[in-house]
Amino acid sequence: MDKSPVKGSSGVFRTQIRLLILAAILVQFLVAIFIFARAVQEKEYQNLRDQLTIQGIGFIHELDDLNLSVIHDRELSRGELTGHPLYQESTNRLLEFSEVFSIDPSLLYTMVRSRDGEHDYYFILIGDGTYSLQKDDPFYLSEEVQPYFDLAYETGEIQYPPVYTDSIGKWLTVVLPMKDADGNVYAIHEPVLRVEFVDALVWEAVWNAIQWPLAILLIGLIAISALLNRVFRPFNDIVQLFRKSRAQDDIDMSSIKATGEFEELRKSLSFYIDASRSAKRETQEILQNVQQGLFLLSSDLTIGEIQSTQTRKIFETTKLTGIHFDALLKQFVVPKLHEAIVDFLDLMFSGTIDESTLRDLNPLKEVECHLPLDQGGFVTKHLSFEFYRAQSLANDSELEYVMVTVQDVSEEVRLAEELAQRKEAEQNQMELLMDILKVEPSALNDFFADAQEASDEINVRLRGTKNDDNLHTLVNDIFRLVHSVRGHASMLGLPNIEQASLEFEESLAELRERSELNPRDFLDITFHLEEVSRHLKQLEEITDRLSRFRPQTPQQDITQSLLDTFKSLVKDTAAQLDKEASLDTSDFKAIPLSDTQRRFFREIVIQLLRNAVSHGIELPGEREVSNKSSSGSIRLSSQEISPGQWEVIIRDDGRGIQRERLLEEAQERGLELSNQDRDSDNLLKLMSTPGLSTAENVDISGRGVGMDIINQRVIEMGGSLEVFSDEGHFTEFRITLNQELSLSS
């Protein structure tokens, strides 16, 4: 990871800012000092002014103009005066000296412009008051007055602030030029004044003022920089360290330079950071690998930020943080449960009931949840939740969090259910087994065939009925069929089927009582029909398994008993319909069939025979008109046409299939027919077309049970079915069975 550029640029930036701030502070500081110095200066002047006692004031003209020769008649000549260094200096420096002429003392120390720049030049004039102008002695020079030239030695640099007492002052005789009434100019010798020269430069004042603060500042700066190095940098580094530790995991602790207590602090901090970092890492490990959903709920029932990876898998969503747990649950559990869980969590947080008591009341121990998926739809899972009060470390009076674990127990539940179901099924099978054992195998087979046929017939009738047909008749017919199944089951002692048929009958009896029947009422019938079929199937499966343990009946015997069944079936069915018919099985040869095949075969033949009697064979009177014997004849024959290839033929000498009507109807229904389809070979296709071989078809074709179903059964047992017919003469069904193929498979 390359992080140096970021660090560098931010560092430079920070340094520049710091320099700028420092410079600004310095400038401000200097300005403050300057202002302070001026204030000090002003104050000093004020002090001086206050101390001054102006007893008289004179003015100094240009020294040139002073008629000093007159004054110093004794010792000083003009030449001497002009040659005097002070004179020289005065003329050089005080060019505009006259401009300060004023009796206002404040003006005396107004800045004076001289030839070599600006000076503060103070004239402090102090009159001694001992002398006054005397009429008789106009040019009197006091003895105390020092000679003029003395001045030369007394001026010069002075310290700032000027101290009055230490200042250099000289007596000066001031000559006032005056005019008399006649216009004569006199130089009037004024009282001798003492002039104090106080000279100071502004920058000196400033320098004086700033010396101490500057020294303090420097010392301060040195101290601050020492502090910065020793205190602030390590502190800053440590703060940075904290900041980084939050953002990233791989910081180098040794990069921080610190000494003394800071080193200790750094060590402690790095210890805690290491600890928290490794704790964080461990937490991550746990959250990623724990095989449960794991998260915290806060007291407002929102889901916390930390969740185990499994949590999101279990809930099929990544959006969990901050979601209300009750809102989440609302989506996938039943409302009553949802209400209970809200109560439960309230109690969990309230802390009035102890945790172990509450845990028994957890309403989400094992709940079926329907979780919506992001891509639509939903998935059903069995989830098991556990809730724990999470005692906060910081505050043990208020419960802040409840920890929730959730586990997907779908598989366990499924296995448990499966086990329970299997147990129940085993129990049922055992009972069934006991029931079956009491029953003769052939009688049982007869029953299956009858019951299956009855159930098929009911469905065919339902399918073939239109709303405006007589629904009561339909109910009655179904009732009769169910009733016979029940009687049969009761006789054989098969209580399960008997019970199911009884419920069916009761439901039908109820429908029969209604004055008006609505098609939707027949949903009850489909339901019961389903139930009876389910029981039949169960029974059949067990019979099948059982037959393996029963002593094998010789093939011949089985065949014979089968043929006997067929014969009596034809006879009985015919009798029911006031018809006469017989079955000729002389050409039937035993076919090697598996148990399942045999049952299928039996069903198929029974249905075809039934159809033949009820729809093929005409009533005796009708037959006589067509010059047929009053008793119809049906022939069942079988033949091995090639090794393993068997052909079974069922042929009746009845009215045959009225093909034209069948075609017409098919066309009306929009079935597309090619010329080929019109051949008799394809009669079966016509008869088996779904949606066509309904009751209408039944009438046309003269067949009772849906041909598509029969055809389906033939295919299921590994054979094929063909139909041939000559209208008015015969109908022939030809079943071809490939035994080699089906036996090997």
Binding site: L337, A340, D343, F344, T352, I353, T357, L358, L361, P363
Partner: protein, 119 residues
């Protein structure tokens, strides 16, 4: 500690009475339904009540609610089949201090009572 037993089954009532002998409790009354229970409750103001939550006359929850208005500090032990968790949770929210799932065994009963009267 004044105790009131509320249960619609005579057998359960006598079983509870028998089990309660192990504790220092003064049984002030037994009630067979919610209305009767409330009357006894108002009369004796018991400290401890065992309350069957599914009873004729008055629903146990309603009964509990009224008891709590009369004497909120009374410790009520709610008894119900565990299958009806939502009702138990409601009862605890209404102020019951504990619950005991049915069927009751001597041990579970003792434990629940111990917990509630010493708490």
């Amino acid at each position: 500690m004044k105790t009131l037993i509320v249960d619609d089954s005579r057998i359960i009532r006598s079983a509870i009475e028998r089990h309660l002998k192990h504790f220092q409790l003064e049984i002030v009354g037994t009630a067979t339904n919610g209305v009767e229970a409330l009357e006894l409750f108002k009369e004796h103001l018991p400290d401890f009540v065992t309350l069957d939550i599914t009873m004729p006359e008055m629903d146990g929850l309603a009964c509990l609610r009224e008891m709590m208005q009369v004497k909120p500090e009374a410790r009520v032990l709610v008894m119900s089949a565990l299958t009806d968790k939502p009702t138990i949770l409601k009862a605890l929210k209404e102020g019951a201090k504990g619950f005991l799932g049915k069927p009751i065994t001597p041990d579970s009963f003792k434990e629940a009572v111990q917990k509630i009267i010493t708490d």
